[in-house]
C-alpha cells in the first residue's frame, strides 16, 4: 500500500490500489462531492403537511414577529428565477437546479433590523432549525423558494417553501421553513448541535465539527 503526500504535504492519502473512479468531474463540484442527476431527499423525520390557507412566514426578533406574510402575500412579492448548483453534506452535488423564490433581500428590507442582530435561526414545521449568519442571507445569496423546476415545491423537498442558500451545504437550506429568527449571538441549530459544522462552506469541506 502506497502513501502519497498531497500538494501541501500536510496530510497523507492512502492510495486505493486499482481504484480509478468514474471521474464525472466538473469545476463546479466542490471537493469530496460527486455529481448526482436525481434529487435525493434527506430529512430527519416524517414530511410535515402544510395548509396554505393558514400558512405564514415570519421574521422575528426578541420573541416577537417583526413582519408576517401569508402564503398569498409572500407569493405575490416580486420573485427571482435562479439556476443554482446545490451541494449536500452527504456528498452529492446537483448542478443547474432551477428555483423560483423571494429574495431574502426583499423580505429583510421590509423589516426594521437592529444592527446587533448579526445571526439568524430558521425555524421549520417538524421542529427543524438551522443557523446562518445574517450576512449570508443578504446580497442576492438566499431565497424563500416555493417552486422547483417550474412546479410547486414538493413536500419531500421542503414544500410549500424552503430556505435556499446554495452557497452553503444544503442542510442550511431548511425545508418547510416558517420563520427566521434574528439573533444577536450565534446559537446552533439542529444538525449543528449534532456534530455538523456551524457554517458549512462546501468549498472548504466544512462538513463536521472541527473541519
Amino acid at each position: 500500500m502506497m502513501v502519497l503526500s498531497d500538494a501541501l504535504g500536510a496530510c497523507m492519502a492512502i492510495i486505493s490500489r486499482g481504484f480509478r473512479g468514474k471521474r464525472e468531474t466538473d469545476p463546479r463540484i466542490p471537493p469530496g462531492q460527486y455529481l448526482e442527476h436525481g434529487f435525493p431527499v434527506l430529512s430527519a423525520g416524517p414530511t410535515p403537511r402544510a395548509d396554505l390557507s393558514t400558512w405564514t412566514f415570519s421574521i422575528t426578533a426578541d420573541g416577537g414577529a417583526l413582519k408576517t406574510w401569508t402564503w398569498s402575500e409572500l407569493t405575490h412579492l416580486p420573485h427571482d428565477d435562479v439556476v443554482k448548483d446545490i451541494h449536500c453534506v452527504t456528498k452529492w452535488s446537483k448542478l443547474d437546479s432551477v428555483w423560483r423564490g423571494i429574495s431574502l433581500d426583499t423580505l429583510l428590507s421590509d423589516v426594521e433590523i437592529d444592527p446587533d442582530h448579526a445571526f439568524a435561526m430558521a425555524h421549520c414545521d417538524g421542529g427543524y432549525t438551522t443557523n446562518v449568519p445574517l450576512a449570508d442571507l443578504r446580497g442576492g445569496k438566499a431565497w424563500i423558494a416555493y417552486q422547483y423546476d417550474g412546479a410547486p415545491l414538493a413536500p419531500e423537498h421542503g414544500g410549500p417553501a424552503r430556505l435556499l442558500i446554495p452557497h452553503l451545504y444544503f442542510w442550511k437550506s431548511a425545508k418547510w421553513v416558517r420563520s427566521l429568527e434574528l439573533m444577536t449571538e450565534n446559537t446552533r441549530g439542529f444538525w449543528e448541535r449534532l456534530g455538523y459544522h456551524d457554517y458549512g462552506d462546501p468549498w472548504k469541506e466544512q462538513r463536521y465539527w472541527g473541519d
Binding site: I15, F19, P46, K91
Partner: protein
C-alpha cells in the same frame, strides 16, 4: 451538549469480507484510533486513485454500537460496514469486489447523532427497514443483544426476494425477543402463502407497536419507502416527533 470534536481521517484495514447476498457484502475493518459509535451511526469512506483523484461516500455501520451503553463504552477498533452494490456505482463495486483483505481505505466518523438508539433507553423500539435500510437497524439489534437489553423491539423489513434478505440467519437467533416481520415485494420463500407487495397501512398496523406505547420508531430505506411508511404511521396515530428517518438514493424527481 457534547463538546465539539474534530473527525480526523483514519486508516482502516480490511480483515474480512463476506457476501450477505449476491449484491451486498459486509466489510470487517480494523481501524486504529477509532473512537467508537452509537448504534445507527455511519462513516464517511474516502477512496483515492494513484493520480490523486478521490471520492467519498457514507456507509452505515452494521456492527454493534460501543458508546451510550448502560455499562459504559466498550473499546473496540473493529467495525463492520454492509455495502449494497449500486449498479454502475463509483465506490460500492470497488469496496465489494476489488478491495482485498489487507488493503487499506480511509474513513472517518462516527457521523450522524440523530438516527441512533441509546441502549440505556427503556422505551419500546420499532424498526422498519427497506432493502439495505436494514443495516443501521441491525447495528441497533446487535447492540440490544450485546448489552442484554430487555427493551421490547420489533422489526419490520421489506425485502424483494429471499435471496435479497440480509442477515437472515442472525435475525432468526434474535427471535422471539425481537419480533421480525418480513414483507416480500416480489417473491416470497417457498411455501409462502401471504401477500406479495409493498408495505401498507394494514401491515404497519399489524406489525408495529401501537401508537399508545410511545415506541421510538426508526425508519430507513429508499426515499419512496420511507415517505410511504412515515406518512402512513402518522396517519395511524404515531407521534411524528417519535419517528426518526434516514433516506437514501435518488428520487428520480
Amino acid at each position: 451538549m457534547t463538546e465539539p470534536y474534530a473527525l480526523s481521517w483514519l486508516v482502516g484495514t480490511l480483515v474480512d469480507r463476506r457476501f450477505e447476498t449476491p449484491s451486498a457484502a459486509t466489510l470487517e475493518l480494523d481501524v486504529p484510533g477509532w473512537r467508537g459509535a452509537m448504534a445507527g451511526q455511519h462513516v464517511d469512506v474516502r477512496l483515492t486513485a494513484e493520480d490523486g483523484y478521490s471520492t467519498q461516500r457514507s456507509y452505515s455501520l452494521a456492527s454493534a454500537g460501543t458508546m451510550g451503553l448502560p455499562g459504559g463504552p466498550v473499546t473496540s477498533e473493529r467495525i463492520s460496514l454492509t455495502v449494497q452494490v449500486v449498479d454502475d456505482g463509483e465506490v460500492s463495486p470497488y469496496l465489494t469486489q476489488d478491495l482485498q483483505v489487507g488493503d487499506q481505505i480511509e474513513l472517518r466518523g462516527p457521523v450522524g447523532n440523530w438516527f441512533v438508539w441509546h441502549a440505556t433507553d427503556p422505551h419500546p423500539v420499532q424498526l422498519i427497514g427497506g432493502g439495505s435500510g436494514l443495516v443501521p437497524l441491525m447495528s441497533m439489534l446487535r447492540t440490544r443483544r450485546d448489552v442484554a437489553s430487555v427493551s421490547p423491539f420489533r422489526l419490520l423489513v421489506s425485502v424483494r426476494t429471499p435471496g435479497d434478505a440480509l442477515y437472515a440467519d442472525e435475525l432468526a437467533t434474535l427471535e422471539p425477543g425481537v419480533a421480525v416481520t418480513r414483507v416480500w415485494t416480489r417473491t416470497g420463500p417457498p411455501g409462502f402463502l401471504g401477500p406479495i407487495g409493498r408495505v401498507n397501512a394494514d401491515i404497519l398496523r399489524d406489525a408495529c407497536f401501537p401508537p399508545d406505547l410511545n415506541a421510538h420508531v426508526f425508519v430507513c430505506g429508499p426515499t419512496p419507502f420511507v415517505e410511504l411508511v412515515a406518512d402512513t404511521l402518522v396517519d395511524l396515530g404515531h407521534d411524528p416527533d417519535r419517528i426518526r428517518t434516514e433516506r437514501f438514493g435518488p428520487t428520480g424527481a
